[in-house]
């Protein structure tokens, strides 16, 4: 391992593991979990180091493990491990495929994070991309196809970006990007940001996500939480490491924010809004989480676009939080789906009484998602809001804020529809999720709590990343954090909350309460049979009715019409091959004439 160094540990181990795990057949996922644990544990000695290595496989792979990579890798490898741990009981069919592909995707993801030249970036990016595709294929070919088309679109955007860099520099190295004119930079960054933006599911390139996220839940947890962060990482690298802040500022600035970044920030805010609104009306648990994912990554995009220290720090932190809470939510959904076999929120209900631990973990994830201050999810949102408000952006800030209110709506939809309300007769015997699942969810919950009490730790890591990109460090202390216009101290908040909680606990404990059956209800004069229903079907109907005129437009349908148009065109073109040899001979003669004439004309 020493010979290959970081390449060996973070890319080869998962790759070799993927082959070995496949051979174990019934225990494949468990074996894969062990192989995924190796890089996640091996990561710790690399804290705050800067290791580089060039691997020559015929093309040179320049790999570096620096604090930026370390931070993202910490997130991804932990997620991959948890997802595989969760998958041990979850995946019953064709375990080998699943384990292999997850490990390939992990290797690809680690490679993308370590790559410091475009060639290896692209190699690992595509590796991750097709592994994802095949994993979705396990669920549905059509969904997988949609994912692949957008995946390839993203890859080709990236290729265009890489190509333009190559045109100017003749090198694939990130560090060799000197002497590119501003017009070149514009196109490079545009293509790269769009390419990576597809992975982040930025509107209008988001339509793959709701389909892809219907695949098996442990994988989706890794996809939505982990792999989508590669888009974040890519944009971060492209804009702030490869190009750098001075080039971004060179496009002109608007209150200190690059004019290149601002439209993307606005797009991010719009994404946050659209994603949230669509999430509110979903009945399929997986789709709800998918749209929520789109919305949350919109926030990250806002931060990436604004690019001040506070915004960028918020974006990175939010990406981190989103990785954990969204994976946790998908895993929680997975646990519920595993136990009930249902996907629709309206068909569940009351499962929180039967699966208390799952409920608690999901509850924490939802606190983080909604930005309740007792989780770290609040801090990153706070940073993004303050960054936008401090710069007085009157379009971005309200969109983000109202989207976050909308998040409460769909959060409660999950909580109420799935875990609360009436427990239906057929779910009377549902058991708590198996131990590996709970362990996986517990691992994911930890950082959300820890970093809400001690945000200083993670803000220190993020600050290091920002400094390495030439930005100002964040202002923070161990428990508190500051923006130009405000501050918040988590320790005081926690202590105050604990004390006040104890006060209400004392009042609460003064009298005992007796437990009665769930249907022993105040019925307001209704017949008891009338209230035996779980009020989760079409939950936000009044709201949906008011939104109906807007909701009838669908970006998805627009894409379908677009592709339909092209397929019709293809059929016309196909008629050129008449299957008549005389025509073919004529083509040949015509070609000869044209060639010769053009040749002569050129002389």
């Amino acid at each position: 391992m020493e010979i290959l160094g970081i390449f060996g540990i973070f890319v080869l181990v998962p790759l070799i593991g993927s082959v070995i795990a496949y051979l174990f057949r019934k225990y494949a996922v468990a074996v894969a979990a062990i192989f995924a644990a190796v890089p996640s544990i091996a990561l710790y000695p690399f804290y705050d180091t800067n290791v580089s290595r060039i691997i020559n496989i015929g093309v040179k792979l320049n790999l570096t493990l620096d604090p930026t990579t370390w931070f993202f890798m910490l997130m991804l490898d932990t997620l991959a491990f948890s997802a595989l741990l969760f998958a041990i009981p979850y995946i019953k069919k064709a375990q080998g495929n699943f384990a292999t592909l997850i490990l390939v995707a992990l290797a690809g993801a680690n490679g993308v994070l370590m790559a410091r030249d475009f060639l290896s970036l692209y190699i690992f990016w595509e590796m991750m991309s097709w592994a994802t595709y095949l994993l979705i294929l396990r669920k549905s070919g059509e969904y997988a196809r949609r994912y692949l088309l957008f995946g390839v679109l993203s890859a080709y955007f990236i290729i265009m970006g890489i190509g333009i860099v190559y045109y100017y520099t003749g090198s694939f190295l990130y560090s060799a990007t000197t002497g590119i004119p501003m017009s070149g930079w514009f196109w490079i960054l545009l293509f790269l940001v769009l390419g990576f933006g597809v992975k982040m599911a930025v509107v209008p390139l988001h339509v793959w996500a709701p389909y892809a996220y219907c695949a098996e839940q442990p994988f989706v947890a890794f996809l939505s939480g982990g792999l989508s962060k590669l888009g974040t990482f890519g944009i971060l690298m492209a804009m702030y490491s490869i190009a750098g802040i001075s080039i971004l500022q060179g496009f002109g600035t608007f209150r200190g924010v690059s004019l290149f970044g601002y439209p993307f920030a606005l797009l991010g805010a719009i994404t946050a809004f659209i994603g949230t609104v669509l999430a509110i009306f979903q009945d399929d648990l997986r789709k709800l989480l998918a749209y929520s994912s789109i919305g949350q990554l919109g926030y990250v995009m806002v931060g990436l676009g604004l690019g001040t220290s506070l915004a960028l720090g918020g974006a990175i932190f939010h990406a981190f939080n989103h990785a954990f809470f969204k994976s946790l939510l998908f895993l929680g959904a997975g646990a519920v789906i595993y136990r009930t076999g249902k996907y629709k929120i309206s068909e569940m209900g009351g499962l929180g009484y039967k699966m208390p631990f799952t409920f608690l973990f999901v509850l924490f994830a939802i606190f983080a998602l909604a930005g309740i201050p007792i989780t770290s999810g609040f801090i990153s949102k706070w940073m993004l809001y303050e960054a936008a408000i401090a710069k007085k952006f009157v379009f971005i800030a309200p969109l983000m804020l109202i989207a976050s209110v909308g998040a409460f709506l769909y959060c409660f939809r999950i909580l109420y529809g799935v875990f609360l309300g009436q427990l239906s007769e057929e779910h009377k015997d549902v058991k708590e999720a198996p131990a590996p699942m709970l362990a996986a969810m517990f691992i994911l919950m930890l950082p959300l709590v820890i970093f809400s009490i001690v945000p200083g730790w993670i803000l220190g890591w993020i600050s290091k990343i920002l400094v390495s990109m030439g930005l100002k460090p964040l202002e923070y202390s161990t428990f508190a954090y500051y923006s130009p216009i405000g501050n918040a101290n988590m320790l005081i908040m926690w202590i105050a909350f604990m004390l006040l909680f104890m006060v209400s606990m004392i009042i609460f404990m003064m009298k005992k309460a007796r437990v009665v059956d769930q249907l022993d209800n105040y019925l307001a004069g209704e017949a008891p049979t009338q209230v035996q229903l779980h009020a989760a079907h079409n939950f936000y109907k009044p709201l949906k009715d008011t939104w109906a005129p807007v909701l009838k437009y669908s970006i998805n349908r627009a894409y379908e019409k677009f592709s339909q148009f092209f397929v019709e065109g293809f059929k016309e073109i196909r008629k050129m091959y008449t299957e008549n040899p005389q025509d073919y001979a004529a083509y040949m003669g015509i070609a000869f004439l044209i060639f010769v004439l053009v040749g002569w004309w050129l002389l």
Binding site: G352, F359, F367, A370, G371, P373, K381, W382, E386, I389, K392, V394, P398, V405, F408, L409, F412, L415, Y416, L420, G421, L423, A480, S483, I485, G486, N487, A488, N489, I492, M493, A496, L499, L500, V503, S504, M505, I507, F508, K511, K512, A513, R514, V515, V516, Q518, L519, D520, N521, Y522, A524, V531, H534, A535, A536, Y540, P542, L543, D545, T546
Partner: protein, 322 residues
């Protein structure tokens, strides 16, 4: 800060919080009386709510459906107290120096979420419907309200409530500087306090008080305390944002006297704000939820947007720096 100092501060905060809850209960009693007089009834005595809470908390039989049910009273009361602790009252900063408006905004969500969780944990469909309405209503009024907050934060260039109070004291009260936003905020406040015409979530005649339907005994008692806290919370929020928090004397120069005077002024102001809400409540019928949504996203939002534009123009183009 020494330990003694911290202890004194904590005791003060505790006192303020206790007073706030009492004020809330009193206000609710006053509201019942006033509404009754407007509707030509006699109405209960204004201390009725104290009696109610005492009776409910002292009840021997308390029933619950499951353990999640307990979330409601615990989170609701603790959350509302926490939120109150971050609000300056009568010039006393409480904790607002260590957490700004955005933090407060999210802390306010804690009691609401806890309440929603607890009521959702009952199998009564009315509770679910009630929470759905409450959340939809929240989405409705937050649109203008967030624009208002944004206008304030942009104009005063701070997100910290205590700084906002200082700036209002030295420059001008929010209602003077940004009257349009204040109007929008007051309309939003009506929804936030769930007073008519926006008492849709707890509509007693349609959904049997919605989220509250399954609570009784100590549960209901604690939730009443929460409601009392909410009344103070919401009115104080408006007063702090637009009426300078009732600060008329600078504590730095006048010392304890200033605190007492400011507290009284603050009390008078929240009373006025509360009375406006109560008067509107007394004479209006109830909206349907979709009407409420359409209403809020239409006129108050437009007003708030105009207010935001005003703040933006004053702050960015005219260079007015409070």
């Amino acid at each position: 800060m020494s330990i003694v100092n911290i202890l004194i501060q904590s005791t003060l905060v505790a006192l303020y919080l206790f007073l706030a809850i009492c004020i809330g209960l009193l206000f609710m009693g006053i509201a019942r009386k006033v509404t009754a007089r407007i509707q030509n009834r006699v109405g209960p005595p204004i201390y009725q709510n104290f009696i109610d809470v005492g009776k409910l908390l002292a009840k021997k039989t308390n029933i619950k459906h499951n353990w999640i049910f307990d979330f409601a009273p615990l989170f609701a009361l603790a959350g509302v107290l926490l939120a109150l602790a971050y609000l300056p009252m009568g010039g006393y900063k409480m904790l607002s120096g260590t957490g700004d408006l955005i933090l407060l905004l999210y802390i306010i969500a804690i009691p609401a979420l806890g309440f929603a969780l607890g009521s959702g944990a009952s199998a009564n469909p009315n509770a679910g419907v009630g929470v759905m309405r409450a959340l939809t209503l929240m989405l409705s009024y937050e649109m203008p309200f967030l624009l208002v907050l944004l206008a304030l934060m942009i104009f005063y260039n701070t997100a910290s409530l205590s700084t906002l109070l200082e700036k209002q004291m030295s420059f001008a009260w929010g209602i003077v500087a940004l009257p349009i936003s204040a109007l929008a905020a007051d309309i939003a406040l009506q929804g936030m306090m769930m007073e008519k015409p926006f008492d849709i979530p707890i509509a007693p005649h349609e959904i049997a008080s919605g989220p509250l339907v399954e609570f009784g005994g100590k549960y209901l008692g604690m939730l009443m305390l929460y409601s009392a806290g909410s009344v103070v919370l919401e009115t104080t929020l408006f007063v702090d944002l637009f009426l300078g928090g009732g600060v008329v004397l600078n504590p730095a120069t006048y010392g304890v006297v200033a605190y007492v005077v400011n507290y009284l002024v603050w009390f008078a102001l929240i009373f006025v704000v509360w009375m406006i809400a109560v008067f509107i409540n007394a004479v209006f019928p109830r909206f349907r939820i979709e009407q409420a949504f359409k209403f809020y996203w239409k006129w108050p939002t437009v007003i708030a947007a105009i207010g935001l534009a005003q703040a933006y123009i004053m702050s960015v183009f005219l260079g007015v720096i409070p």
